[in-house]
Subunit: 322 residues, 2 copies
């Protein structure tokens, strides 16, 4: 039997990334489509088909050599099925992806949460390679995460394990980590800070649509010591550090991988700072030998994770069960 090929599809709120990988998970071809979520599940899946066909063609692989496919979705998945329970950015509820597959696609399909697949990618072929217990933290619009426990993705009882953004980091006010370190909430807070800021500071932000600020723009403000950006980023680092320090005590993972748009734009010093703060909270000996590292795969963590996860988790065939 010849070596097989694997497909990974990262289906995000704005774009769809597709990748074709060889049996060693080397990326052979990559493609990008707009999601255009307004087309509904079948419209979106038509663009998944476009992307997949493009990478198959580019890599010049025969479809019968494809052994499996993983799709990452920004939402909740019904554990062990191909059903999306809820994906707010896509406006999907109870969508099963399996029936949307073209009849010609005879390979097995696995569906998982996109951030969890990103964590799996970093675990299988990225910054956390070789570790058995990994926490992935992705700081972007919100704060997502994923958990690898004993060498496999950990789903939890209702399939939503890994949501570090929803650890409570202020018990009195009821704030969750995401409400301090996610870009969406940072920019809400920016408005409050600007309302009380001196004219000189307000001038810098004049005309900027806060809701649409990108991570790179926030990083630029931060690098020129803008007091609003400094306060937002410092608070994010402190809240992330406190949450991660607590998780080192509580779950004690071997590697913490930090990725996502905000982190990427702010650079590795931001991650070093988070880890320095985290260690103020860790019990004696609890952090010894634990690494906190930047994600290594960038935008590709999702497609790598999807392909690697599909390879490691072949769905049971009737013959295997009997």
């Amino acid at each position: 039997m010849s070596a097989g090929y694997w497909l990974g599809v990262d289906l995000g709120g704005t774009k769809i990334l597709s990748g074709l990988f060889d049996d060693e998970l080397k990326l052979l071809a990559r493609s990008k489509q707009p999601t255009s979520a307004e087309g509904g599940p079948s419209g979106v899946f038509a663009r998944v088909v476009q992307g997949v066909e493009a990478v198959i063609k580019e890599a010049n692989v025969a479809p019968e050599q494809i052994r499996g496919m993983g799709i990452g979705i920004p939402g909740q998945i019904e554990v062990g099925t191909t059903k999306v329970k809820f994906a707010p950015n896509l406006d999907w509820r109870d969508v099963d992806l399996k029936p949307l597959m073209p009849a010609a696609w005879r390979w097995p399909l696995v569906v998982e949460n996109d951030v969890r697949m990103g964590t799996y990618g970093e675990f299988a072929h990225g910054a956390a390679r070789g570790a058995r217990n990994v926490l992935g933290v992705f700081v972007g619009t919100g704060v997502g995460g994923g958990l690898i426990i004993n060498g496999d993705l950990f789903a939890g009882f209702n399939g939503n394990a890994g949501e570090i953004g929803h650890l409570v980091v202020h018990w009195r006010r009821g704030s969750e980590l995401e409400s301090i370190a996610g870009r969406k909430y940072m920019m809400k807070r920016a408005k409050e800070i600007l309302d009380d800021a001196p004219k000189r500071v307000r001038k810098e932000w004049k005309g900027i649509d806060l809701a649409a600020v990108r991570s790179s723009q926030l990083a630029e403000f931060y690098q020129k010591d803008d007091p609003v950006a400094v306060q937002l980023v410092d608070d994010a680092a402190r809240a992330l550090g406190a949450a991660i320090g607590g998780v080192v005590n509580f779950l004690n993972p071997e590697v913490i991988v930090i990725g996502g748009g905000v982190t990427g734009a702010l650079g590795d010093t931001f991650i070093e700072r988070i880890w320095e703060i985290a260690q103020r909270y860790t019990l004696p000996g609890a952090a010894t030998g634990i690494r906190c590292v930047p994600a290594a795969l960038g935008d590709d963590s999702g497609i790598v994770g999807c392909a690697a996860y599909a390879k490691a988790h072949p769905p049971l065939k009737a013959a295997d069960v009997a």
Copy 2:
């Protein structure tokens, strides 16, 4: 071969509980000794020997029928060994228990953290029986915890997983859960509250040594609506609820078992309140079907856990390895 017997020893800061169990983990005999930690490891272990000999005699079991023994220690254990790295209540550092075993004790020994063994007891034969993923929370002098993941105790990279008392629940002040919900810290806070309290309230607490207040006494004050106790207990419930709600999002265990002296004294309504608060923080669907229940084994959770853990984790023999 005849059915075997198992020993569980819960070695606490003030008392040592020993239990002898049959192969179905039924408790046959139970014994209690003072720890008298000032005698150092060999002095303390002499009292472990007393306790174990007492239960063997009481149950009238031949020592050669004993198949294993677990010891729970209030401290950090070097994963997979019989070595205690650090146990502050015993004032132990780097103590190996194996060499302290009498030569006549030919059964295998496993050593683990006491709170983790309590969690294992509730998982194997208590309130969380049948679940695969369990969080144990024990509220006493401090707040300890344990994690069962995929049907086994989860140690973490440095062997201290489960320390929910050291999740950070106030990122600005850097407070950990234990600093709000542990009895030791509650009573520190009591002093601050009393300093500002009206005379009528201060009178009720007059002559009471705050550092020595027991859980039952705190519960009595609470039940008669003493404002100091009400504030302490309400804050503890809120902080525990916030932490547990976050953990439901982040780790998504199937069962949360809450035990320990403070919880036992305050009763099941305290646990119901914590769970009600926790659910204010959980993501849609994340708490569905998850149970938050009082510990069922009381003081015996540790000895049951130690015996059950020894049974489930026979140490590898040279023959097995080769």
